[in-house]
């Protein structure tokens, strides 16, 4: 007999405005899309809800629209649909690569873009059964008062492990956020906060409605390091967008996931503009990554390994994109 969920009411609105109204009307409500992240946490007693608002029936929620300006991806597009979309594959191959690397086929058929962007942060002290967490006095992220990863600290270090966010960041994406006060569009990086307990800047009732990718001329790729090649979260994931003209770098963005509580764009990469991709440049990338990632002991792999792996993957992807 499997663990039963707490009793809740499922509502299935047809419009985003109705979904938000349903959220506001009931304290303790949660949005659910594919449910492959949320329902697992609910079954482990980490998350509870009196009302689940099913977003899968929301009109226009699952469409991909491309034009000369770029592409708008509805938050309800499934990961499988994203991975096999011919325009995504031809114009943003890194997005398809990242989508294919998410979980297994059974997850990708229902899991969504919005869900992957809003994925809860993960930690070996958090993603455990109720009895496991209880016997450890819980943790700072959930019901406890100590972060077992950094007991002296005041913050939660659970790591963000979505695979799409770094690619979208490298491509310069913005997110459209819908809420009680209407819609707002923000650079995707503004969606995230470096705090494992509250890593999304969404206000109560707000949800990601879509992601917009500008038309991109840069080459882009995503690669991740994971314990199991077949299916796993990234221990470190790196997306790189690189444009080279006349042998010199004219545009470079590097984004990381799996190492911090948020996905983030590597800072200070503009120092490489005008340079060529050579050993000195790659060494510089390596140093920047090692300095800016903050892996903690939130996975079974050592934090130091994830730091080195992130830097090595960043170097490798830059080199590959440059054809060097």
């Amino acid at each position: 007999m499997s663990a039963r969920l707490s009793e809740f009411q499922l509502v299935q609105p047809a419009r985003i405005e109705d979904a938000i109204a349903a959220f506001v009307a009931k304290p303790g409500a949660r949005y659910v899309a594919g449910g492959t992240d949320l329902l697992v946490n609910m079954r482990r007693g980490i998350v509870s809800a009196d009302r689940l608002i099913d977003l899968s029936g929301v009109a226009g929620w699952g469409s991909i629209d491309a034009d000369a300006e770029g592409m708008t991806i509805g938050a309800g597009v499934t990961i499988a649909a994203l991975a096999r979309d011919p325009i995504v594959i031809s114009r943003y191959p890194a997005v398809a690569q990242a989508a294919t690397s998410i979980a297994g086929p059974g997850h990708r058929n229902v899991a969504t873009v919005g869900g992957n962007l809003c994925l809860d942060t993960r930690c070996i002290y958090y993603n455990q059964s109720e009895w496991w967490r209880k016997s450890n006095d819980y943790c700072l992220k959930n019901r406890g008062d100590t972060c077992h990863v950094a007991p002296q600290g005041k913050r939660c270090h659970a790591a963000f492990s979505g695979d799409l966010a770094p690619v979208f960041l490298a491509l310069g994406a913005s997110a459209e956020i819908a809420g009680v006060d209407g819609r707002r569009r923000v650079p995707l990086s503004d969606l995230y906060v470096e705090d494992g307990r509250a890593h999304l800047s969404l206000k109560p009732g707000e949800l990601v409605a879509s992601v917009h990718l500008p038309a991109v001329l840069a080459a882009c790729a995503y690669e991740k390091v994971r314990a199991r090649g077949a299916i796993d979260y990234p221990l470190a994931g790196v997306a790189v967008a690189l444009m080279i003209a006349g042998g010199k770098i004219v545009m470079l963005r590097i984004a990381l996931t799996g190492t911090n509580s948020r996905p983030f764009l590597l800072a200070d990469v503009d120092q490489f503009i005008g340079k060529s991709v050579d050993d000195a440049m790659l060494h510089g990338v390596d140093r920047l990554v090692q300095r800016q990632v903050q892996p903690m002991r939130t996975t079974l792999a050592a934090a130091h390994y994830r730091r080195l792996a992130a830097a090595a993957v960043a170097r490798r992807v830059v080199r590959r994109l440059a054809g060097a």
Binding site: E7, L39, A230
Partner: protein, 163 residues
């Protein structure tokens, strides 16, 4: 804290299971795996990790493999679900099932229904998969006995053959 349970009364779920429509009263919080096993009596659907990690509960929802342990039953309203029980015809296993038997793709057997359903979905979409395509399609299904080689040989054995 919780409001009275009366508010969370069951709803009528209309769902096609292995080709037959049925209607059952189902609570909003009921998982598809529990509905299929406990209400529909289809115990070929296995509960493994119970958290979307092992693939033992893989069933086909409108022809696509999904994990029944992280799927709410009431979200399958009006949709078609296929389980391992739906593959055999007149008590005879399908060719794919027969191949798992003959090629020793099943050992303890616990992961087998999920493996077969994930393979079935692959073969319907791609009747002649390569080894890599088989591996990718079964990436979400864990087996602790076979080492996977015999499973991949089982799927290969029916690749290119009519079902």
């Amino acid at each position: 804290m919780h409001e009275p349970s009366a508010q969370y009364k069951k709803r009528l779920l209309r769902i096609k299971v292995n080709g037959r429509w049925r209607e059952d009263a189902v609570a909003d919080g009921c998982m598809l795996v529990d509905y299929l096993r406990d209400t529909a009596g289809l115990t070929g659907v296995k509960t493994g990790c119970d958290g979307g990690e092992c693939g033992a509960c893989t069933v086909l929802l409108d022809g696509l493999p999904v994990l029944a342990c992280v799927t709410l039953a009431v979200r399958c309203e009006g949709r078609s679900v296929e389980t391992i029980e739906g593959l055999a015809a007149q008590g005879r296993p399908s060719r794919l099932q027969q191949a798992f038997h003959e090629k020793l793709g099943a050992q303890c057997g616990y992961c087998t229904p999920g493996m077969v359903m994930a393979s079935e979905a692959l073969l319907r979409r791609n009747p002649t998969p390569t080894d890599d395509e088989i591996r990718a399609a079964l990436a979400g299904n864990l087996c602790r006995c076979t080492g996977y080689v015999k499973i991949i040989e089982s799927v290969k054995a029916v690749a290119g053959l009519a079902p």
